[in-house]
Every structure is written in structure tokens, then in C-alpha cells.
Amino acid sequence: MTRKLTDTNSAAIAAEFVRARTHAGSPAMGMVMTLVVVVDEENADSALDAARAASHEHPARVLAVVLGAARGTPQVDAEVTVGAGWGGEMALIRLHGEVVRHPESVVLPLLLPDSPVVAWWPVGAPADPASDPLGRLAQRRITDTMTHASARSRALRQQCAAYAPGNTDLAWTRLTPWRALLAAALDQHPLKVTGAAVTAENANPSADLLVAWLASRLRVDVRLRTSDGPGITEVVLETASGPIRISRTDGRLAVFTSPGNPDRPVALKRRDVPELLAEELRRLDEDDVYAATAHYLHRGKLSRGRRTGTPASSRSSSRSVSRKGTPT
């Protein structure tokens, strides 16, 4: 059930939450977090669909904040929904006028007591989420550089540079199945990896993160090659016994090749945003491995930048990242 509140404020929205819950006959609060979704009008629907799906795994109070034009008389409008497919409750809050510069004043009073706060920017994250007025309220901040219209690699590097505990990017989440397979491959084949290569479509931030992760964990040079995609299409780990290769050309099914074994198919589907978001919400503490990878990518860029310029802007068909940042 949805109720619209026009020219309202936080107290009225909070009262509406309580009223709607009581009206629905369930005053219990089973919600485990507050999810603040910062989104523009254009992407609000799809973002809310994803949040609704994720709310089934993580019942949450979802506060979707749509920032309008910052000029004119300040006005707060809200649509409060309880039930209707939500695993918790949701307020779609539209801000216009001067209040657009102070969205935290609207959101702060609506945070659930004592439980974690997660901020998610489905499109167009701030350069430094941790110092964003809404990002500051949250202990987990989720960005998605894949949705940047252009310069995605640069956007990712910016996020890595601005890394603060609690930040993650969905480009990293997209990698989990790849990383799981690669880790399992080395469980099965305890071999020393002597080199590696990642092949992906152009300007894929996940591929950049995968290269950084492999390079930092394996301490070898990792080449990045460009293909037509979709997404990441191949990862190869070179070993003395032969290559371990996972190759996926259709975004759904991969072929797993390893020394001494027949080639085997393995399902490796590209996941949708609701699944990615649900995975993110499972961990509300700092992701140490992402932190290390982001740090590695950022540091690699700095040292490389001094020698050869920014690779993100001068990407050729093949380039590589080494541990010391020496181009090869």
C-alpha cells in the first residue's frame, strides 16, 4: 500500500511508516538495516526493483532519495509503501529546491535505531562516497562504476583512490563467481602460477579489478587484453604444467581447461543488479580483500603514472600491470 505525502517532512514520513505498519496489522520490526538509495528520476524505477528484490533477503527500511533541481523553494515529497512486495518498508523521497543540498537532514531522522545503514548509488556515484553528506550517514557505501556512461576505468580508479572502509563497487561484486572458480582451480591444482592474463571488453572496471586482484595475490605480471565481450571473456593462469583457462564467450557458460584434465563446461552467468545488491548486503563490515585490491590498483596507477602516463586513458590492445607497477 502506498500513500503520497506532499510538501512534507521527516517527522510526517516517520509517522506514516508507523501508521502504515499498524494499519497492515504487523507492528513488529523485523528489519535489519536502512538502505539509502540515491538515484535520479530516470533510474529510480529500476533501482527500486533491485532494492525490492534484495529486501526479501535483507528486510530493510529503504529510503530512496531523488535529488531534483537545487533552485527554488525547498520542498520534500514522499511516497510511503509498506507491503506490496517489499520485505520491509520503503519511502521514495523527492527533494526540490535548496533542501537538495541538505538531503542528510531529511534522511537522518528516518534511520532505524541502532541497525546498520547502507548507501547505494545505482548510477553516478560521488567522487568520494565517504565524505558525501548521505554517504557519511552510512557504514557501507555501494557504488557502481560500470554504469558510468564513459571513462569507467577512470571512475573506478577514482573510487579506489577515495577508498574508505565500508566502500565497495559492484564491479567487484560481479567478480565473485570468477574469483571463486579461480581459487577453486588452484585448490585442485596446487601449482605455482608464473603469469596470467585477463581478456575482457573494453572499459570494463571488473576486469581492472580482477587484474589487480590476481597481480596482488599471485605476485606475477597480469596482462589485460581487449575482446568484444560481453564482460570478461577469458582468464588464463600460466603454470609449469600448462595453462589453467576459464573462457566464457556468451556471458553464461564457460569452458574450464586445466592441466591433465578434459575440458569441462561450467555455468558462469553474468548476474543482475538485484543479485549483486543482495550479495553486497550480506556483509556489512569492511571488505578487506577489496580494500587491498583497490589499494593495489590505486598505488599501481600512481607509480605507473609517473613513468608512462595514465594507462586508463591510453589503453592499447594489450597492457599489463606488474607488482611494482613496471609496464611490461
Binding site: P265, K269, R283
Partner: protein, 523 residues
């Protein structure tokens, strides 16, 4: 559960996988190369649980590339016919959406071996099939044998596995066997069964599955008790009055007459499921959160269990009668197809147990289970003593009963706390209220079906929460005298008491608690 064993199987911990990091909790554990051989592919268990769970695991990317599933049954089938059976069962029962590409890669690893359990040729064929899979699919000699068949055939099958060298490993690989409850029908048969299994497979390779008791539930109970400060101090005889453990089913025996007749509620549910729940609730804090420490504490509790002297007054049993349940007309147990009109098999059982240790002295544990009861529910209720002194006058607290903490196992896993609160208004009146916590969304929708977890644990070689034969035998030691007492009652012509379908069991069960001045909760 055991962080020590992050590695796949057949490898030494000496090799450190650089891509593994204990901090990296996103990465799921994927089973190493392996295959599963399923005996009894046509049964309900295989079609409704095992096959869909295998597909769901594949869909979640948790099965190794090249995973293979071999069916063994007395059917004149080709591999494709078997694949069709699995396909239908997956389409109908799988939890995750059906995806063609997942199915295709999984189906490539399906094989079928037709034959009887005593057919040497068939087991030779099974052996060559497995060897072919190692070759073509890279299963690496790692195979689990899932015995989804009646326990009376275990001996046959396990003997054949041994005879045809199917249980032998070559050092680096593993062979495991999975058996379902019931683990025997009394102490001596359980010992015989264990002896058969032990003869062929080492103890760590035998997985006894109690699908009622999902790993998730066990971990939830342990987390509740030992991760919190507020429960453990009152978790003893000083504060607890008694404990009620219930597993109720709303269905009858359905088409399982052949299995159920002669087994009954106590053997089917109390021996494994309820006693496991009880040991988790009553045990001391384990020295570590690992398989061995947990098992030790469970065994300690089970060995401290004492039966009351008068079993007639402290146990109850019944059979559901014809009537109406949930708006449907249902037959009584004795009218069910395949059940003799003189059957004394109980469909309801309630027992009283004492735990003779300092923590629980004087606190009875009431365990009950039954079919065709009011609704499907499994729960553990810790009922606390009344406040020793009541400040408020008796009229104010007339409606106040005992504080209760209920661990709901299913459905709607969660916890309820019941306590007294003032009724709004001018008069001083205190009444019970409940506070409810549902794992609700947090775990339900995304949480894997118990079978997925069980099968994955088997493939990973992670047995911590599966009962070992010591626990199974201790449980039978507790139950055997009660079963013996009931058999004597039968001999005297005292049959199980009929009870209304759709209700909460026979009058004798209510009388059993009334003697102690207590009542059953309506769960």
C-alpha cells in the same frame, strides 16, 4: 565450520593457495572434482530432494566443473531416460530458476547403470562407468555413494561396493557413503548397520544425514546460546522449569505405509531429530566450534539422560483416527492403505526425559512428535519458572503464565520470547505478550534448502554436524527401554490411544504433563 580445512580434498594443507584469504568471505567453497552415485533413483527422496538440490548447487556455481551423477536402479533405462527423470524432477522441485545452460553442462555428466543390488555384472558396469567418468569428465576418482534406499538393502549394496573395489581409494582420492535416517530400528540393529558400514568405509567417510536437522538450524541454536550474554546465565535448573520439544506434522503417512508400519513416530523422529535438538539445547559450551568438540558435548548430554522409573505415567503414544483435518476429510491410521487394522505402530509419541547433571537436575524435557496434528511445526520451548515473589496482587496477574523462550525450527525459523506486560488502561492487569524474531527475510529466501547444504558438505568432506555412530547408539540406548515398554503393553492388549486428526494428540499425553502440574504449549 572448520576453517582449518579450506582446501579441497586430497590435498595437503602445506600448499597455500595464494587466491584464498581467510578474510575473503565472499568466495564460496566449491567442491573439488567428484561425482555422485545415486542408489534408488526412483524414490521420492531422490526425485523431490536429492536431484533438485544437485541442480540448485550447480546453478549456484558450487559444483565442480565436470561433476557427474550416476543413477543405479532396476530399470531398463539408457542415460537419456535417466536424464529425463532428473529433468522432470528438477523442473518440478528445484528452488532456483531453470536455466538451460546450467542444465546442459550438468546433463553431460549423467550416467545410468541398470541392475539389481546383488547383480555382479551391474556393479562391474558401475565400476567401469566411474572409471570412464574419471577419464572423460575429470572426476579424479572422487565419488560419493548416496544410498537413497531402505536400510534393509544397505548391507547388500555396501558389500557389493566393497567386493567390486568401488570403496577403494588410491591415496589421493576419496570414496564416501551417505545414508539417511533411520539408522537402524533399535540399538542392536544400529550396531549391526554401523558394523557393516565401518567394515567398508572409514568413520570419516560415512555421512549419516538427518535432513530434518539442517545445519543452518544447528548453527542458529549454537549462535543463540553461545554468542550472546543474555541467555546462558538463565539456561539452567535455577531458572528453567521444563523444556518442551515438539515436531508436529499435519500430514498422515501418505503412501509410506511400507516404511512406516513397524517403525512409528518414536523411531522415525524422536531417536534422531528430537534427541539431536535436545542435545544441542542442553549441552555445555563446546571447547571449540568444531566437529569434535561439538560431538563430545552432545555425547556427554546424551549419556546423562535418565528415563523416569514409571514409563507408563511418563510416556504416551497414539494413532490418528479418521476425521477432519484442516478442512479435509481424512482416513485414520488403521484405515490407511497398506496398514493392518491391528497395527500397533504409533503415529504419536511423547516421552519424558531427565538430564542428570548439575545444570539440568530436576528439569524434565518433554519430547513429542506426531502425524496429522494441528499444523506443521518444529520448536523448542524453554519454559521458565514463575517469579519467586509476586509484587502484584493475584487478580492483576491472573492472566500471566510462565515466561517462555521458543526456538522455532520450522516453518518460519526464528525465536519468540513470551513475558508479562501491563494491559493499557487504569486497572493494574498483567498479561502475556510475545516478542518475535523471524530470521524472516534474512535467511529464508536465499537460504539453501537443507539438502543442498548436506550434499555440498558431503562433497567437500565436511562432516561436523552429521551424527557419528556413538551418538546414534546413545540415542537408541535412551529409546530402547521405552520401545520395550510399549511392546509389553501391546502384548497385554493395551493399544496406542486413538486421537483426533487435526488436533494436538491423545488425552494420555495431556495427562502425562498434568501429573507434573504442567500443560503442553499449543505450538
Amino acid at each position: 565450520m572448520t576453517p582449518r580445512r579450506v582446501q579441497g580434498d586430497g590435498q595437503q594443507a602445506a600448499h597455500r593457495n595464494p587466491l584464498r584469504d581467510p578474510q575473503d568471505r565472499r568466495l564460496p567453497r566449491i567442491a573439488g572434482p567428484c561425482g555422485l552415485v545415486l542408489f534408488g533413483v526412483t524414490g521420492d527422496l531422490s526425485r523431490k530432494k536429492v536431484m533438485p538440490a544437485i541442480y540448485d548447487l550447480a546453478n549456484r556455481g558450487l559444483l565442480p566443473p565436470g561433476f557427474s551423477l550416476t543413477g543405479f536402479a532396476r530399470r531398463d533405462w539408457a542415460d537419456e531416460d535417466f536424464a529425463k527423470v532428473v529433468h522432470d524432477s528438477v523442473k518440478e522441485h528445484s528452488r532456483t530458476p531453470f536455466r538451460e545452460e546450467v542444465w546442459d553442462q550438468l546433463a553431460e555428466g549423467f550416467r545410468f547403470v541398470p541392475g539389481d543390488f546383488d547383480d555382479d555384472v551391474a556393479f562391474d558396469k558401475l565400476r567401469s562407468t566411474i572409471e570412464e567418468l574419471d577419464e572423460s569428465r575429470g572426476t579424479g576418482g572422487n565419488h560419493a555413494f548416496y544410498l537413497a534406499i531402505p536400510p534393509s538393502f544397505f548391507g547388500n549394496v555396501v558389500g557389493q561396493l566393497k567386493e567390486h573395489g568401488l570403496a577403494d581409494t588410491d591415496g589421493g582420492s576419496w570414496r564416501r557413503v551417505v545414508v539417511e535416517k533411520p539408522f537402524g530400528h533399535d540399538l542392536s540393529s544400529a550396531r549391526r548397520l554401523n558394523a557393516i558400514l565401518d567394515d567398508v568405509f572409514p568413520d570419516g567417510s560415512i555421512f549419516r544425514i538427518d535432513h530434518y536437522l539442517g545445519k543452518e538450524t544447528v548453527q542458529n541454536i549454537l549462535a543463540l546460546r553461545f554468542a550472546n550474554m543474555m541467555f546462558e546465565p538463565i539456561w539452567n535448573a535455577n531458572y528453567v522449569d521444563h523444556v518442551q520439544i515438539t515436531m508436529a506434522e499435519d500430514v498422515g503417512i501418505g503412501g509410506r505405509a511400507g516404511y512406516y508400519d513397524g517403525i512409528g513416530a518414536a523411531r522415525d523422529v524422536i531417536q534422531n531429530h528430537l534427541l539431536q535438538l535436545m542435545s544441542l539445547v542442553a549441552m555445555e559450551e563446546p571447547a571449540a566450534f568444531d566437529a569434535q568438540a561439538l560431538r563430545m558435548e552432545k555425547q556427554k548430554v546424551l549419556s546423562s539422560v535418565r528415563l523416569p522409573a514409571d514409563l507408563g505415567a511418563t510416556t504416551a503414544r497414539g494413532q490418528y483416527a479418521a476425521g477432519w483435518a484442516g478442512g479435509e476429510k481424512v482416513p485414520g491410521f488403521l484405515q490407511e492403505q497398506g496398514i493392518s487394522a491391528s497395527s500397533t505402530t504409533e503415529t504419536y509419541a511423547a516421552v519424558t526425559l531427565h538430564v542428570d547433571n548439575r545444570r539440568w537436575a530436576g528439569v524434565p524435557f518433554y519430547l513429542r512428535t506426531g502425524k496429522r496434528l494441528g499444523r506443521r511445526v518444529t520448536e523448542v520451548a524453554i519454559v521458565f519458572k514463575r517469579a519467586p515473589h509476586q509484587l502484584f496482587n493475584p487478580t492483576a496477574t491472573e492472566d500471566l503464565t510462565q515466561n517462555t523462550l521458543v526456538i522455532r525450527v520450522q516453518p518460519d525459523e526464528g525465536m519468540t520470547v513470551r513475558f508479562g506486560s501491563k494491559v493499557p488502561g487504569t486497572a493494574m492487569e498483567i498479561r502475556d505478550v510475545t516478542m518475535d524474531f523471524a530470521y524472516g527475510g534474512t535467511f529464508t529466501e536465499a537460504s539453501p534448502e537443507a539438502y543442498e547444504r548436506l550434499i555440498l558438505d558431503v562433497l567437500l568432506g565436511d562432516p561436523p554436524l552429521f551424527p557419528r555412530h556413538e551418538e546414534v547408539e546413545l540415542s537408541w540406548q535412551i529409546l530402547d527401554p521405552i520401545l520395550g515398554f510399549w511392546a509389553k503393553q501391546d502384548a497385554k492388549g493395551k493399544r496406542p490411544e486413538p486421537y483426533d486428526s487435526g488436533g494436538w494428540g491423545p488425552a494420555s499425553a495431556d495427562a502425562m504433563l498434568a501429573r507434573d502440574g504442567r500443560v503442553w504449549r499449543r505450538p
